[in-house]
């Protein structure tokens, strides 16, 4: 039976990794870097958080403290994604490598990194557990407000999530504000639109690029962590994160580089992602595979629609994808 009350919260939970990935990629693109490594960054963020909390949970045992249990994976996740961000910066900003190729290499590396440590951390550390199931950490991440259960339908829809859901929306809104209303945002956009002009205006191009790429990657990495801890209940399984990183990159275009719009659009995509579970197909399992196509088909249709409505303010940053070399003309 299809019920909006059960469907919407699940769609929103699905949307958070997409939203964080999208906000991170938007920051990257605003500085003129098309980072196709975001899927890899999200994997690394996820597994770094998992490694951190795995060590804490196995060593703490009975004395598990939820606050430390949240802080440790957050910190390791941010560090892991920061490393990926720095690799991308070093290669594309300092060494002016091709962004698409670097991004794809980062995705290969990141997915491999996640699957390798996810699959063999138990063997490598010789721990005495059958699989990675960080239930205590996941429980801490999923703690919702105590009165959420009693608030009825509104409670289910608005209050039933772990704290990271709200943090994600907050990050999106803040990013949007910074980009649009502050001097830093203005200068960052100048760097992405026309680095030569920004350079002439005395803006330190490389510093802006480094900061926005690294912060963007850290935000995207949080999306990976959210997926494992909130959505997957702390259970790591290889390749489970799937193609969400790519959808997050696609979301950037639909939100027309506006993170506050991405909040709603990521919810729409979260819904599309799980809609196949709710469409009754009876015993015809094959049809489910067709319905799983929905988010991709909608993405393609939106891509075409946006390109048809060729409005000036809907265009990507002009300097997107181009490395900047001051002495070039």
């Amino acid at each position: 039976m299809f019920s909006l009350i059960t469907f919407l919260p699940r769609a929103i939970v699905q949307s958070v990794p997409l939203l964080l990935g999208c906000v991170g990629e938007t920051l990257n693109e605003k500085s003129g870097s098309l980072n196709l490594g975001i899927p890899g960054v999200m994997y690394v963020g996820a597994i770094s958080g998992v490694i951190g909390s795995f060590f804490y949970e196995t060593s703490a045992g009975e004395n598990f403290n939820p606050v430390i249990g949240i802080i440790i994976p957050l910190v390791t996740c941010l560090l892991g994604s920061l490393m990926m961000g720095l690799i991308f910066c070093l290669l594309t900003v300092t060494l002016r490598a091709n962004q698409n190729v670097t991004g794809l290499a980062m995705t290969t590396f990141g997915v491999g990194f996640g699957n390798f440590f996810g699959g063999s951390i138990i063997k490598l550390t010789g721990a005495d557990v059958p699989s990675i199931a960080l239930s205590a950490t996941s429980k801490a991440f999923k703690t919702s407000l105590p009165f959420a259960d009693k608030a009825g339908v509104a409670g289910d829809l608005l209050l039933s999530y772990g704290f990271m859901t709200y943090v994600a929306i907050l990050i999106a809104v803040i990013t949007s504000f910074v980009l649009k209303k502050t001097r830093t945002g203005l200068e960052l956009r100048a760097v992405g639109e026309n680095p030569a002009t920004a350079d002439a205006a005395g803006i330190n191009i490389n510093r802006y690029k480094y900061f926005s790429i690294c912060i963007g990657c850290m935000i995207a990495g949080l999306g990976g962590l959210y997926y494992v801890m909130d959505y997957a209940n702390g259970v790591w399984s290889n390749d489970a994160f799937g193609d969400r990183g790519w959808l997050a990159i696609a979301l950037v275009i639909f939100s027309i580089w506006r993170p506050n719009w991405a909040v709603w659009e990521s919810m729409l995509f979260g819904g599309l992602y799980i809609l196949y579970l709710y469409i009754p197909t009876g015993a015809n399992f094959a049809m489910k595979e067709i319905y799983k196509m929905l988010p991709y088909i909608v993405t393609i249709i939106m891509l075409i629609a946006i390109s048809l409505r060729n409005k000036h303010e809907n265009q990507p940053p002009e300097g997107l994808g181009l490395p900047y070399f001051r002495e070039d003309r």
């Binding site: 794809l104 290969t108 491999g112 490598l124 891509l303």
Partner: protein, 370 residues
């Protein structure tokens, strides 16, 4: 008047030309540095002796005649995909959909083999499968190319999404044709009748694939270097405005190039089902659409150079398969090593294209000023 304005420590200029020898020395140096870093990572994470790991990777790739043939097969398939993608990238069309185009070919061949396997002779069946898979691959590339040419639709994401659409259609048909029911697999197609299987040349299963890959690579080399089409797509890649100015129909060149790309990918899909694997899975393409991008780019879109870069990738993949069995490691370890090598090779391009001048020591400078 004591102005203490320092000259920057590092000054970077573009190189005009670099001798081929030096270029290759830089690349080899990067790969060696990457191998050292990989060795450090291997020891730190797994406490294994890195030389033993490298030795077993070598063993896994070249250890026996069977392993060499498997390596050659993988090399041929990856090479064909990379060669197919090269003209598109040379035109600055980011086709990340090579995987989807291969899967379209895979699906078309499988469909022909299952539906007509017992209804026609082997030769017409193979021809039919070949034609339909070429058409399917071309169609899968044509759709995004058409939208790009007509409305300037973002091709990077479009082609990427086409991969997933193709994979889901394949997943649908796998459930329809699964054998035995409920297994989620279709097993080896026409195992007893061998209808639609390509012949084993000289008793070697992979000989035909290797020969076709060589032919396709040489064709692409000539196409890019000596044909009018190749010239036109290079101009479009360098500057669309120049292309328009000299009267090249940019939209036509984009569509034509992508259809060629789709045709070769479709052919690869046909070979995967009809000659090497004889089955269809959702992961048959195995990420080679992305790997092909890097292979093509590392070789600067030169098909002959791609043989080397593809060999490097295949060696890493085959080798890591071997270490996963020999040392009980997860298979993804190879992806980490491949990633590190790629980072280094990508980074090394900088030292080929640019020259670094360090600030001359101030003493020497003062002397020069006087």
């Amino acid at each position: 008047m004591d102005r203490k304005e320092k000259e920057p420590l590092i000054h970077i200029t573009k190189r005009k030309m670099i001798p081929k020898k030096q270029e290759w020395a830089i690349r080899l140096g990067a790969i060696l540095a990457a191998l050292v870093v990989c060795a450090v990572i291997t020891t730190l994470t797994t406490h294994l002796n890195p030389f033993a790991v490298y030795a077993s990777m070598w063993e896994g790739s070249f250890g026996s005649e069977r392993k060499i043939w498997a390596l050659l097969k993988e090399l041929s398939i990856l090479l064909m995909i990379s060669v197919a993608l090269a003209p598109a990238f040379k035109m600055k069309f980011w086709n990340l959909g090579g995987g989807g185009q291969v899967m379209a070919g895979v699906l078309a061949t499988t469909t022909c083999m299952i539906l007509f396997g017992d209804k026609m002779g082997n030769v017409p069946l193979i021809l039919l499968a070949l034609v339909t898979s070429l058409a399917a691959g071309a169609l899968w590339a044509f759709i995004p190319a058409f939208c790009r040419a007509k409305w300037n639709t973002n091709e990077t994401l479009f082609t990427l999404m086409m991969n997933y659409v193709a994979t889901q259609i394949v997943a649908y048909f796998i459930i329809i044709w699964e054998k035995p029911k409920g297994s989620g697999k279709i097993g080896v197609i026409n195992q007893s009748s061998r209808a639609g299987w390509l012949p084993y040349l000289g008793g070697k299963q992979y000989m035909l694939v290797v020969l076709i890959a060589i032919a396709v690579t040489i064709f692409m080399y000539i196409y890019l270097k000596y044909s009018k089409h190749g010239y036109e797509l290079t101009v479009v890649g360098e500057s669309q405005n120049t292309a328009k100015y000299v009267g090249i129909d940019v939209g036509k060149v984009i569509i034509r190039t992508l259809v060629l790309c789709g045709l070769i990918c479709g052919l690869t899909g046909f070979l995967l089902v009809s000659s090497t694997d004889h089955t269809m899975t959702t992961t048959l393409e195995g990420g080679r659409g992305f790997l092909g991008v890097m292979v093509a780019w590392l070789a600067h879109f030169n098909p002959i150079g791609m043989v080397l870069s593809a060999l490097l990738m295949v060696f890493m993949a085959r080798g890591s398969g071997e270490i996963s069995t020999a040392f009980g490691l997860n298979k993804s370890f190879g992806d980490i090593l491949t990633g590190v090598i790629l980072f280094f090779v990508i980074g090394s391009e900088f030292f080929i294209n640019y020259q670094i001048h360090f600030r001359k020591s101030s003493k020497g400078k003062e002397a020069a000023d006087v």
